[in-house]
Symmetry: C2
Subunit: 330 residues, 2 copies
Amino acid sequence: MPIESKAIFLKQPPLGTPTTSDFEIKPEQLDDPAQGQVLVENIYMSVDPYMRGRMRFMKSGDRLFGGAVGRIIASRNAAFNEGSLVLNQNSWREHFLSDGSGLQLIEPDLAPLSTYLGIMGMPGLTAWGGLLKTGEYKPGETLFVSAASGAVGSVVGQIARIKGGIAIGSAGSDEKVSQLINEFGFSHAFNYKTQEPLSELRQAAPEGIDVYFENVGGKQLEAALTHMRAFGRIPICGMIAHYNDHDTATPGPRNLSETIYKFITLRGFVVSAFEEHKHQFQEEMGDWIRSGEMKYQETIFEGIDKAPEAFIGLFNGTNQGKMLVKLANE
Amino acid sequence: MPIESKAIFLKQPPLGTPTTSDFEIKPEQLDDPAQGQVLVENIYMSVDPYMRGRMRFMKSGDRLFGGAVGRIIASRNAAFNEGSLVLNQNSWREHFLSDGSGLQLIEPDLAPLSTYLGIMGMPGLTAWGGLLKTGEYKPGETLFVSAASGAVGSVVGQIARIKGGIAIGSAGSDEKVSQLINEFGFSHAFNYKTQEPLSELRQAAPEGIDVYFENVGGKQLEAALTHMRAFGRIPICGMIAHYNDHDTATPGPRNLSETIYKFITLRGFVVSAFEEHKHQFQEEMGDWIRSGEMKYQETIFEGIDKAPEAFIGLFNGTNQGKMLVKLANE
């Protein structure tokens, strides 16, 4: 029995900040799944800043897409049972048909469903893998993370705290600095726009830092190199690439020779490197979420009609933490 | 029976390029070794550019020192037999007494004695460890090394060649470039002062480079990052620190974000990191020297009276390869 659904299309590529008139919501009718197909009802969808960049390469009438979690409501594919929950890349619509490719089953007992689009998902895995695998962070070590109030940075700092270490974070406003200390439990935080990174690090960690989780380059990277201990590690996080589409190249650190006598390692990574560790990650992160040790924030808009507003809100600071749209009941 | 010897002292710290009048050769008489002591006759001593920097912190009348190889000619220390050969830091003199601390026994069958001050010594170990340990170079990979005609760089390139890889080197004159290809067997070499590093790398290694042995920073480091393959490695060599005393900080690479999607590792090191591998290094290097696969050049001045001239010659290009002074017959 065919169902009525709604989906959102790009009416025109936005000029500057997107407005609701750049989007068009259309009804669509979906057939019952054919042999080998499943029908999915999306429950949460994610809106992310990187989608703005992508719109520059789209044209009027194109269908929007991105991360979502949904429930299988009809299945003619033996790999998926009705009622199973799946992560997918078919957001901006209420329902979709799929042959199962690109669907990842979710274990709903580990953590709330919505977190699979945030700390149980790609940003969380980026933080976990970048800190523990690429950065080889060991319990008790001193960590510095820039862009610390972001989806990745806030998790990086909390993992260090949970593992008994000292977490130092930087952010771009005094409100964010307070949040780092009061909500996410950082030992020390500073506003990089008004404070000197090197003197902040010296004050917060007189004996130096062991790992710097690099998100921004520039003066903060130089300060980290200068104040790093022997055998320090600097994982260079791939998430920044999403946000830097319009930036010119940042000047490199002038003190790379600090690496020599301190045997410092810098290493780039993107989240795909940790695919093989995903299960271990989700078990650990699920434990931390259920115990309350790992904090996170979500801003949730209700109903697909609100998806354009939620997306636009990313660019004027409407959201606290991860921005989501709820499309159906859990 | 006391012996007559000669030693060289600093007459005055040099102003600008050193001259022979900055040095003073004095006779001295050495007693027979006391209980626990040995008497060493130096056979070769090394002169090195870093000694010039050190002289800025010395005063008139100070004794000069540095790397030498010598023979035990009298021993009252059970750890050292007469006739044994030892690496020591007591150069700029013909003989010295020692309680044995700081003396390292040399295996004279592995390679010519003089090479223990060059490719069998610190520069060789720096090259071997930096490439194979820090750089994790694997047989057949494509290597790029800057300052390739130097004591370290020329060994780095040859190890890659011996291990079946492609060695690309840069140097600061056309003569050095010819030498890299004709004498040291590099696959490709270029003059970084007249050629564009990135286009040279693209031409010499269309599929990219696996390891860049970093000696200089600047444009060559940027070119290496841009043209590096996935999972590439950049060992950052500590030898540069010796030569850069007067330099201002080099601008850092503006394209450090190249590390991210290519999972590139940069790692600093100094030769002390490889102390535990020294025996393995000397066995391998000795094999390569005896088989003729590993080439090296030496310029040897005869007699301690010529040591100041040899040292001064470092600063006007008198030497081909390692500069040594021979103080006694082998």
